[in-house]
């Protein structure tokens, strides 16, 4: 016998911070996948878009720098500068005092096991 699942959308409007923050991640993941499915595809490409697409492919490691430069040299120059800057950012570490500050702010009692 088939039975309608009246509870199938019970969590549809659940917006508790716990869910948003990662707890109940299964629901969260499912919602995100639906959102991703709805993302609108990029519009059809023009010739100029095609040039930039080679730059995008290069940035994703799917085209050579030479190809990207032939396509849009000024864009490659910009992204080389941005990537140098981003590379410096990648070396940044959290402040040394952060861990001690967090530990000092934690409640003395252990968290409850679920």
């Amino acid at each position: 016998m088939m039975v309608d699942r009246h509870d199938a959308h019970d969590n549809l409007n659940q917006t508790s911070r716990d869910t948003r923050d990662g707890a109940g991640s299964a629901d969260h993941l499912a919602a995100d996948h639906h959102a991703a499915d709805r993302e609108v595809p990029l519009p059809a490409m023009t010739a100029a878009d095609g040039q930039d697409n080679v730059v995008q492919l290069w940035l994703d490691g799917e085209a050579t720098e030479a190809d990207a430069r032939r396509s849009n040299n000024s864009a490659v120059e910009i992204w080389m500068r941005v990537q140098r800057d981003a590379g410096q950012m990648h070396q940044v570490k959290a402040p040394a005092h952060l861990a001690a500050n967090i530990m000092a702010a934690l409640a003395p009692k252990a968290p409850l096991a679920d």
């Binding site: 716990d18 923050d21 990662g22 707890a23 930039d52 950012m89 959290a94 402040p95 702010a105």
Partner: protein, 203 residues
């Protein structure tokens, strides 16, 4: 040179250190062991989880907010929240923790936009450069931060994860909980928008 004389910049540089090697991305078994110890009453074991993930999470928060002070606040709040809800972790702890931090960053960005509150520009980081590179890099960082601030938070997040944190699309998908295709689209859109904004000055 603004990059050298700025006291907030000096404070920023004092607050960060450079690393020679990245930490391993995650270790599920190790994390579960530590979580079990914390839940059993070993509060100090939580410091292992802080040490393991604070650097990449700090970089994410710094990239999203552009402010070392805000990034530090978000990390502290996120770790405290994670500690209180540690018993609710299912699956990968690092992905769960990442979402707490990522949502903290997005909430901050929403509040900034809603209140039209402009945070102190002196707080903005400008990378860790040699003095000779200061002026150019500071200017580029400021322009990049300004351009990033014009992006939707989801595009900004995708760009930061890809280009600042150096993550693969697959790893990004695991952490954000969406598809590789959706993330590629976000990164591409972010790049397109940033390129238009930066071309005005740097092309």
């Amino acid at each position: 040179m603004p990059g050298v004389s700025n006291p907030s910049l000096r404070r920023y540089r004092n607050a960060v250190r450079k690393t020679d090697a990245d930490l391993p991305l995650y270790d599920v078994d190790h994390d579960q062991d530590v979580i079990s110890r914390v839940l059993a009453g070993d509060r100090d074991a939580f410091a292992l989880l802080i040490g393991r993930y604070s650097d990449p999470l700090y970089r994410h928060a710094l990239g999203m907010t552009g402010s070392p002070d805000v990034a530090e606040d978000i990390l502290q709040t996120s770790y405290i929240k994670a500690y209180h809800h540690l018993g609710e972790v299912r699956g990968r702890f690092d992905a769960w923790l990442f979402r707490i931090v990522a949502n903290g960053c997005k909430d901050w960005l929403k509040n900034i936009r809603r209140t039209h509150l402009s945070y102190d520009e002196d707080d903005q980081p400008s990378g860790v450069a040699t003095p000779a590179e200061d002026l150019d890099r500071t200017e580029l960082r400021q322009d990049l931060d300004a351009a990033l601030a014009q992006l939707a938070p989801s595009l900004r997040e995708a760009f930061i994860m890809k280009h600042v944190e150096g993550r693969s699309y697959e790893e990004m998908a695991d952490l954000v909980g969406t598809t590789v295709g959706a993330l590629k689209m976000r990164v591409h859109r972010a790049r397109e928008a940033l390129q238009v904004l930066l071309e005005e000055k740097y092309a």
